[in-house]
Symmetry: C2
């Protein structure tokens, strides 16, 4: 398939934004069925022992809706959604053990990101819709309906909050990364689901990395990063959205799948952010800093940054990447079978 | 002063809600001055090197506004606001080294909670207005304007989101705490500002506690709590609000001052939550579980919980408190001079 024109892309973008709005409404409406709201008779049956079944049903309903809309409008496009790849076991039974994305125009969708938050009705959940062409995330739509926040971007059209506010929020000029980053930075990270308490497990490697980022400068044998704040939201997608917004300076995480990050990466890159690998290379001070491969499962994102008197924005981002790499451990998240 | 009637309290509540709405609007309007919004000429001067001065100015403006409104309407009431006690140094110079709250009707206000979030324009910031009588938090108003969320409660009038939705959200019936809590729970915690990397410092004690709560069941010498999710928002006030909502099951933190927690405790208690001390007593399995003293600086909050076939809601909350105490370390936050 040949390149898409900007006009074709714009049409797909408008479709994706409407899809995200409607899917987010579905998520919020389903959540509201669980609200008590003093209507005892209507809701008494709903919560019972376990909200998880309800949430699974909603997830599947929203996924079916999105998939049917895409198939109807763009029958030639490929779709990648988590239900087809639930868990590593199912995944490894599939034909492909490699990245899920190839050169075809591909929709990469998570109908519900932040599932734990959704189960507990913490507002940090969203639908995430990415559109990928030739391995590049071209369009991203993230709708967090309980927060009234819609993030969207299309290559060449900028990145937006609620379709009216350019991202990053602070611009004209966009501030450079702090001179002593990670000091002065808000660092976003996730504890994730892998909680094995084995020597040198991902949990231990993560916590050691968190400690290095948090501790006072001079602490931790010189690795102390004294970040301005440590944040954990429980949604990789919203971590990326808030990094695009400039609210988070750094996001570092391992274990995400394509659908967790495709839309967020599209939005962050269009806003001017950088996404590379979470795992420090052998020579963190000098290794080239490459854009992340979408299916790598290892992500380090830096917010959009402007130039200072002495550095370009990209230079200040790369300086920050190297300072993070100096403080974090390698995480062990390979592709199943890879 | 004698007890306030419900009618007097209702009037004060209406005043507090309006105060919270207006103060939140002031916070959001000041934040929006920092948005670029493509109006280059208007905003170019604003960000410069440092957003902190701007934020300090906003904090002071909102504080002055709130204080003037309270003085005008209720000249006999006492007010406790952070500016008068900034930092421990200033605090310890004051006459009182004891709790800031006595039996007088007292407004306990944080014009801007989540300062780091506000500086970075992460939406988790709010104004927090508590009204205390005889050491009990009677009224709480928390307004997070960038989230469009207003939490409010008055003793005897229930707890509310945006004045229309009863808290906790899931009710009729309110679910009990999970049978194997902290497993199944969302655990909210904060890294805070004390990042000293000394042996057994608060930072190390906190992280050891976080690890115990996060690790798989059976891990950490039997302390592994395998919580459903770990969350860090950077706002003690909103941690309490989301615990009242039922989104967070457990919040554990040390170091907060009265103004960080007064409104949140009022809302959480009115919603049916429990707040006791963060530090485990000598006999965590059997020690009595007392409501926290407002100025204790050590807080463990449990969401509202309903009865199950075998336990009252309070019993399931107390069971959860003991399970948390078994996994966390004592934190060292005393009153200055105490």
């Amino acid at each position: 398939m040949s390149e898409l024109s900007q006009e074709e892309l714009d049409e797909i973008y408008a479709f994706a934004v409407n899809l995200g709005k409607e899917a987010g409404r579905m998520l919020l409406n389903a959540a509201k069925l669980r609200f008590g709201n003093n209507k005892r008779e209507e809701n008494a049956h709903v919560e019972k022992d376990n909200a998880v079944d309800l949430v699974t049903q909603t997830d599947e309903d929203v996924e079916a809706y999105i998939k049917s809309q895409i198939t109807l409008k763009y029958p030639s496009h490929k779709s990648v959604l988590p239900v087809e790849f639930i868990g590593e076991e199912t995944y490894s039974k599939g034909a492909s053990r490699d990245y899920l994305i190839n050169d075809d125009p591909t929709w990469c969708v998570d109908p519900l990101d932040g599932t734990v938050n959704y189960i507990h009705l913490f507002p940090m959940f969203c639908v995430s819709i990415g559109f990928i062409v030739k391995n590049k995330a071209m369009i991203g739509v993230i709708h967090a309906p309980f927060l009234n926040q819609l993030f969207s971007a299309c290559s060449g059209r900028g990145a937006w909050l609620n379709e009216t506010q350019s991202l990053p929020l602070v611009r004209n000029p966009i501030p450079p990364m702090p001179a002593k980053a990670p000091s002065g930075c808000v660092f976003s990270c996730e504890w994730g689901k892998d909680r094995r308490d084995l020597p040198d497990s991902n949990l231990h490697r993560k916590v050691e990395s968190f400690m290095n980022m948090a501790a006072e400068v001079g602490g931790r044998d010189g690795r102390g990063g004294m970040v301005h704040g440590m944040r954990c939201l429980g949604s990789a997608t919203l971590d990326l959205a808030y990094t695009a917004m400039g609210s988070f300076d750094i996001w570092w995480e391992g274990g995400c799948w394509e659908w967790d990050v495709a839309a967020g990466i599209a939005i962050l890159q269009e806003a001017g952010g950088l996404v590379t690998t979470a795992n420090p290379p052998d020579d963190p001070a000098n290794a080239p800093i490459e854009n992340v491969r979408l299916g790598s499962r290892l992500y380090l994102a830096i917010r959009p940054a402007g130039a200072s008197a002495t550095e370009s924005g990209r230079q200040s981002q790369e300086r920050t990447v190297r300072e993070v790499w100096r403080r974090v451990r390698n995480l062990d998240y390979s592709r199943p079978g890879a």
